[in-house]
């Protein structure tokens, strides 16, 4: 079996796998990161969403041979302690029911917020419409994304304020 190297959640990982193995199964069966879910195996439900070099991607459709040397973030690596604003917002809005699709939902939302800090409803629809939820948590997902966006903006303002205070002390 060929050997591969990935950076997964900031850590270099080396392993052997058949070259056509989807990234999803490398994560779940080789690296034992089971937070990324299998739902359809066909790119239709996005339960397997991860970040590949920062872009939301469905890991069930990416053979490991196409990911060699690249950087992956999974739900386990989004934050060490559920402190990501989206994870906090998901808890605040009581989003999950069965919870199975939620890692994929959160990873799609995280990629959205990274490039669109204050998304409109239409932008949320466009970014999230491929992530299926059988329990119908969509309205709460929408609210949670808005909440996290607001929180991130507040944090940024506070950080900027702190930086200004710091600067004025030194000035």
């Amino acid at each position: 079996m060929p050997a591969y190297t990935l950076t997964v959640n900031g850590e270099p990982r080396q392993f052997e796998a058949e070259s056509d193995t989807p990234l999803l199964w490398v994560l779940r069966d080789v690296l034992n990161l089971t937070g990324t879910k299998y739902g359809c195996g066909a790119g239709l439900c996005r339960a397997c969403t991860i970040h590949l070099d920062g872009e939301a991607s469905f890991s069930c459709q990416i053979p490991i041979s196409a990911a060699d040397g690249r950087s992956i973030t999974t739900i386990e690596g989004l934050s060490p302690d559920r402190s990501h604003p989206l994870q906090q917002a998901w808890i605040e809005e009581d989003v999950p029911q069965c919870g199975y699709c939620q890692p994929g939902q959160i990873m799609s939302a995280a990629a959205l917020l990274a490039r669109t800090p204050a998304p409109s409803d239409a932008e949320i629809d466009a970014a999230m419409k491929s992530n299926l939820c059988r329990c119908g948590t969509y309205n709460r997902i929408r609210s949670a994304i808005h909440r996290a966006a607001k929180k991130k903006a507040e944090n940024a303002t506070a950080a900027a304020g702190a930086a200004r205070t710091e600067a004025s002390h030194h000035g």
Binding site: T34, I91, P96, M128, R134
Partner: protein, 722 residues
Amino acid sequence: MADPRSTAHDSLSRRRFLQISGGLGAGLVVSFLLPGCGREGAPGAGAREGAAADGEVNAYVRITPEGDVVLSIAKSEMGQGVLTSLAMLVAEELEVDWERVRSVHALADVDRYGKWSTGGSSSVRANFDAYRRAGAAARELLVAAACERWSVAREECRAENGEVVHAATDRRLAYAELAERAAALPAPEEPALKARADYRLIGKDVRRLDTPAKVDGSAIFGLDVRVPGMLVAQVVRPPDLGGKVRSFDPQAALAVPGVRAVVEIPNGVAVVANGFWAAQSGRRKLAVEWKPGPHADLDNAAVRSRCLAVVDEGIVARDDGDAEAAFAGAAHKLEALYEFPYLAHATLEPMNCTARVDDDGCELWVPSQSPTGAAETAAKITGLGPERIRVNTTLLGGGFGRRSAHDFVEDAVHLSKQMKAPVQVVYTREDDMKAGLYRPAGTNVMRGALDAEGWPLVWDQRIASPSIMRAKNWLSGMKDGIDMTAVEGVRNLPYAIPNVHVRWADVELPVSLHWWRSVGSSQNGWVTECFFDELCALGGKDPVEARMRLLAEHPRHRRALALAVEKAGYGEPLAEGRAHGVAVHESFGSIVAQIAEVSLAEDGAPRVHRVVCVVDCGEVVHPEGVRHQMESGITMGLSAALWGEVAIDKGRITTANFDTYPIARIDQMPRVESFVIAEGDPMGGIGEPGTPPIAGAIGNAILKLTGKPIRRLPLGRVAPTA
């Protein structure tokens, strides 16, 4: 912070289990229940002999040395919130801080918890007393232990926030310090329960206990189980309904790296491998010759005609007045054919089970709605006694009824037995759709007539649909030869119509059946509510006014509908091209009224913008959980109403994945506003009653928009023309 993985892997419980059973291999079971705690599920909360080394006070309550409260719940968490709502009941009586509470699935132990099945929207309403009693019994044991320590009387002490307090001397003892002694004391027979006015948790919006693990990837679903030495298997099933394996050649599959074996089991041919992808790759090379099934002519049209052929032969389920004579004599009449298709559950986590069968016994890790049924299945296959079978219930990535079946348990147990290694059986999405068990299809021949003033005079409904209860050989679900699920919501049609005739005919078809969220009501709510609106249209009546008049004897229905009308602004002008559709349906003891605001796209595809939902469930434990279930039930019903149909062609299920079995996406999701009525009526169910009305509400809005009813589900497929 609680270990989020404890839901699936509670190592302390594991240790306790081994202590009490003497180890799986020994087959020795110590009787651990005290008198008064019988087999029949009485969560009488008896202490185990010699228990409490790990803080276990009774079967439901464990207090850790740090003072965390770990509650064992013998119902399956599939998103409906039982790990929270049932925990609330225990915690209410136990007098503990909700922030210290976590809940885990209990072991499937009939002696301690009775038979465990999760369904019928029954978990909270059937266990409202039992789980409160379990908490109260534990509380009394803890108080008794403190009284003993202090040599004071029970009346002088109270339980409060995880402590026992002796007010006169201002002494306090934490539960953690008392648990060990408490477990050794005799369990109280009838612990006092709180009065409603004293509830601190019940009826309040507490945080769900399972949320944190569900936002960081640590929640353990069935597919996330990893057992040392575990193999992964996919099972290839006959593609034809009624087909069988004739022969197979394993060589090409075995040549695939990582494939360990190709074996035949009763449900098909399994490719067993080191991991999912090797199993999948081996399966693609597997050559199986199938013996064709005997139903080559069967397709969706044939299902409809088979139903229609027998629809007049049904058994009478209700017969008020004289529908035949009244229909013959009426001036205004309506005849209609309403048809509904097979539906798949399509849980997002496909079916799976992990089994380890070895010399010590059999252990399962399974997302099951019926873990004790899974144990029985394993017992049948292995021949082992129940004391040597251990079932760990993981979280369920959706259930909706599907996970009360045991096909995936059979596969895993057979394979582990043959492979002499732990095996995780995984259904691919395609396996899950095609090897599924389905909500029955069926046909309704409807006849209605109006009196001279335009009010309904005759309701004649003849149903033909394959019987779930007959298929399951569940005779308690049959009454006078009638499958009660097939006529639910119709036999008890609430409208005051003088002549009502209902009959139901069974249909023998080779498609496997199963309970699907809200069962017969899932289609009957649509048929009855839409045909009612057709009669309203014929008589020139407003659908809400007509319901209010004909529900005179059903004040709870009227109250729910009136609140929905108010909240939706029914009757007020809507945006151009939109209409409100109304439906009311009672199921599982709860009454739900829904008003959907709908428009039609240029191609006629319905678009649902907003749904106002009112549920009267009598009494409420967790209001936010109820709203969750309304949102969830509506979404599932909406997907079914607009797109849900399992396709059959040439005797095979051809629906395979989400491209041909669409479920609602975020951009198709209406705004949902849910309101809960809980005025002290008998407690109703919550998991299912949100589903039945939505198809009717959407259908009725379309009728209003187009003047033309759509009488075959799914509504989105038969595109209406505006």
